[in-house]
Symmetry: C2
């Protein structure tokens, strides 16, 4: 069946067939003004017969307000993002908005392009998840926010005037996690981070500060495994950590996300180390990945779904003209099976 030649029905077609004006058609479609039942039925019949579907694009052009919002995400290979998007999509659809989705492939340059595309699509607002703000000229986002409401999710660092934020307090969260580990007697704690996200840096600061306080800080224990959200992060973390764990003999390893946590667990397994008996591993995010592996990962919950919901609320408020706001969520510890007391301190 060839198609495309056949023009889709418009209000005019419906109006003709129902012997009414276009205004009446519009009124029955939108149900915002009274229409005599009998003419209403005629219009409905025509709509049905012609398979008429209103053109949202045209309506929005007329109304000068869009009902689609744009989302840009660094990657889909970390369940963390998938879960945030899941929350966003559900909330957006509930408000009868649509979602234009863009993936920046962990690349600041592509992030900028994605946002630009969204702006020219005339979206009502934009949500950027874990932006690479540090690698982007700061006035870029400022020029965006001057035109389109903007919400950042987990942008630990830079503040764009006029944008809204929904963040996790990753500084406090990582501190909580580290204190938990220390409370279990761990001193030799390996810190594992990635690149291209401010959240790693925030966590590293917590780590440095805490370890400094205790006098345990050792630069060797801070390891950067590079890209932290790609398909290869797990494998790469495992490969990188294997020799390091062997050499440094940490009793616990704190990872900046669950992907790295799983990688760390795999490294231990290869080394013949039992988790958590011989070494504890802690993740961050509480993505569904954390429950996939055995032993299930102890981790900090980032409430991805809430993150998404809140971002949409803030954005919708902003679209309605409210001023920008800042929501900070607290991360909670999720104790599972990958962390235990430090053996050496128990002896």
């Amino acid at each position: 069946m060839r198609r495309g030649d056949r023009r889709n029905a418009t209000v005019v077609d419906v109006a003709e067939r129902a012997q009414v004006s276009v205004a009446t058609v519009s009124r029955v479609v939108n149900g915002n003004y009274a229409v005599r039942p009998s003419t209403r039925d005629r219009v409905l019949e025509a709509i049905d017969a012609l398979h008429y579907v209103p053109n949202v694009q045209a309506r929005e052009l007329n109304l000068r307000h869009s009902t689609t919002i744009g989302v840009v995400v660094p990657s889909l290979y970390n369940m963390f993002f998938a879960e945030v998007i899941d929350g966003i999509e559900a909330t957006v659809r509930q408000y009868h908005y649509s979602l234009i989705f863009n993936c920046a492939k962990n690349d600041p340059q592509q992030e900028v392009e994605c946002v630009r595309a969204l702006v020219s699509r005339n979206v009502a607002g934009i949500i950027v998840i874990s932006p690479n703000t540090a690698h982007i000229e700061s006035d870029f986002y400022e020029s965006v926010v001057a035109r389109t409401p903007l919400v950042f999710i987990n942008n630990g660092w830079q503040q764009i005037h006029g944008a809204s934020y929904v963040d996790n307090d990753e500084r406090a969260g990582s501190r909580k996690a580290l204190e938990y580990l220390m409370g279990l007697g761990h001193q030799r704690i390996l810190f594992v981070r990635g690149v291209n996200s401010d959240s790693y840096t925030v966590k590293e600061e917590s780590y440095r500060q805490l370890m400094q306080e205790k006098g345990w800080l050792d630069e060797q224990f801070i390891v950067n495994i590079g890209e932290g959200n790609s398909i290869d992060t797990v494998e790469h973390t495992a490969d990188t950590l294997q020799p390091i764990i062997k050499r440094l003999q940490p009793t616990a390893v704190f990872c900046c996300n669950d992907l790295m946590g799983i990688g760390a667990q795999n490294a231990c397994q290869r080394l013949g180390l039992r988790v958590p008996e011989d070494i504890s591993v802690m993740g961050y995010d509480n993505s569904s990945l954390a429950r996939l592996v055995e032993p299930k990962l102890t981790t900090m919950d980032q409430n991805m779904h809430q993150l998404g919901q809140n971002a949409v609320s803030l954005l919708l408020d902003s679209i309605k003209g409210a001023r920008s706001r800042h929501i900070t969520l607290q991360n909670t510890l999720v104790e599972r099976r990958s962390v235990a007391s430090c053996r050496k301190s128990e002896d």
Copy 2:
């Protein structure tokens, strides 16, 4: 900074400032007709000064052709989908199209609503991944395809006239997988499937046929664990399988996707069974999840990225007026660590 009151600049504003007509502005923006350099510069200057961004929506309305395509997916909690979407998004963006994304939450009803929303958004075409065709009145998709080009990914079952398809030959793939297991000496093969996707049924047919041929078919060995793409699939599979594996003592378990495969592996672990020494576990998809766990899952590769790319090509062709096509990809075996020869047959 409050915003929204300030109207964004349009062609008219630019034209005024540059002292030219709107037509000229349009010409320099689209670069499709010659414009004298000096006026061109004036226009460019005005565009810059006014922060003018073309309104794609208006342009498309005028041109009567959209450059956004819609995707609906059952869930994001299976990496399989995330990877297909990744492929789609990359390809779509490369052609300067945008992607409207909808998640049907594994619910046929929501799938219909998502597609409807896409149609009224006036998208140029729609891709539906793993549709629930069996649970949807067949004329729904027929009415959609009469209006909007449509491509299905992995819709093993029903054929909608006029739609394009990119499928994996899961019938042959599952057969290949099962024969591989049998070639390793396995007879007591547990078959694990889910609900709400035709692909499970296709695989079950392969299983039945093959087991029938060998005279090994036993209904008890076919288990349906319910929803196969949710956040709880892994856990639920593990819980369901644990008693069954104990009772039936299979030497291998074949799972319809990697999520279930991981669940099966976890069930074995809880039972104190070593994979693959005591029992083999095989997944399906070769999603990135398969490489996360230890031992890494042996599985059938569904080439998610290619699936996405091909779907976009087919859709774009369709949009240009080409007739519908059908691409079938072959699944290839990916041998990793979760499958071994059957012990009992080696004795």
